[in-house]
């Protein structure tokens, strides 16, 4: 399974919740599969999906799911200690780990080599770190939501992309409708 197939499968699980989605293809894929006001699409700023999601979870009570990639987590590795030390039980970080920088042409990441992000997260002090295979992402995510415990999921999948257009929505529109959904 590749990332877009995981997103297609988990879209119904994500739908009722607030989602902060990583820059590039992940946002484009989620936008195509299930665009709704509860999705915050990152159009730039690689690496900050987990930080934005944590800030959002700490600021209000609804469940927040950040969809991140292994490459983006490596870009902002300092996020994991911050998450570990500021527990928000309405927060789930879903790292879709395909071992490559998908949006830029599938160059390999260190997570696809020796580095194990699940071990990094645990070493940073994250208490609920779950690793799953791509096919099990849906049930793992649903279990994390139901647990009402902050959870880091590392979903291992194959690298690979589908062709799809960039998001042309105005960022202020994305942000405004998202904030309306948050406050609803």
């Amino acid at each position: 399974m590749i990332r877009s197939e995981i997103l297609r499968e988990i879209a119904p699980i994500l739908n009722p919740h607030l989602v902060v989605c990583n820059i590039g293809l992940p946002s484009q894929e989620l936008h195509m599969i299930d665009d709704n006001p509860r999705n915050f699409y990152m159009l730039g700023t690689m690496g900050l999906a987990s930080s934005i999601g944590l800030g959002l979870a700490l600021a209000q009570p609804k469940t927040v799911i950040s969809i991140d990639g292994d490459g983006s987590v490596l870009t902002n590795l300092g996020t994991l200690p911050t998450i570990a030390n500021n527990v928000a039980d309405n927060y789930i970080l879903l790292i879709i780990d395909n071992g490559s920088y998908g949006s830029t042409g599938d160059q390999p990441t260190y997570a696809g080599k020796k580095t194990k992000l699940e071990a990094v997260a645990a070493a940073c002090g994250c208490e609920n770190v779950v690793t799953c295979q791509a096919e099990d992402t849906g049930k793992t995510l649903q279990a994390a939501i139901d647990s009402k415990k902050m959870t880091i999921i590392v979903a291992k999948c194959e690298s690979g992309n589908i062709k799809l257009p960039v998001i042309t929505k105005d960022p202020v529109v994305i942000r405004d409708r998202f904030m309306t959904a948050v406050a609803d």
Partner: protein, 168 residues
């Protein structure tokens, strides 16, 4: 009243309730005060761009955020300021220690100080410079301005404002 307490009083009076910090010797008193206030959720960040991400999330969650950091962070956060804070039009008061100004003992700090105002100007970020303690009288108005216009706003605070570096 200490200047640190006055600054944090202004944050609280303007409903700023989520503050991320990256430490600086000059800002230590303010950071202690932020940590001590029950009205404020204090979340230290490991790097300033990460902190701006946290602030963006908190803002969308209905909180008024702020970041406290050194001016060296302007070099770290240009991309985040442009593609997150400004692109999505979010307010962000940035209380910044302006290292490398008069009375600075560390030569390397001057290397970013000479670029600080130019970078902020290039980014079209409204910038205020606190040099004397009375300059902080404007903080309340600056915070109101920031949340009125939904922009990042820089408040540079130099060594003279903080009373120098003591015996360092």
């Amino acid at each position: 009243m200490s200047i640190s307490k006055k600054i944090v009083d202004d944050f609280v009076a303007n409903d700023v309730s989520f503050i991320t910090t990256v430490p600086c010797k000059q800002l230590a008193g303010v950071i202690d005060e932020v940590e001590a206030r029950p009205e404020i959720f204090h979340i230290p960040s490991n790097k300033e761009d990460e902190g701006m991400g946290l602030c963006a999330g908190a803002f969308m969650g209905g909180k008024r955020p702020a970041i406290i950091m050194q001016n060296t962070a302007i070099g770290v956060t240009i991309n985040t300021l442009a593609t997150l804070t400004q692109f999505y039009r979010m307010p962000l008061p940035m209380l910044i220690s302006y290292r490398g100004e008069l009375r600075e003992p560390v030569a390397c700090q001057v290397e970013m100080a000479v670029h600080t105002k130019a970078l902020l100007a290039q980014m079209h970020i409204p910038t205020y410079h606190f040099h004397k303690e009375s300059d902080a009288d404007e903080l309340d108005a600056i915070l109101k301005y920031t949340f009125m216009c939904n922009k990042p706003v820089a408040i540079l605070t130099d060594a003279s404002f903080w009373g120098g570096y003591g015996d360092q």
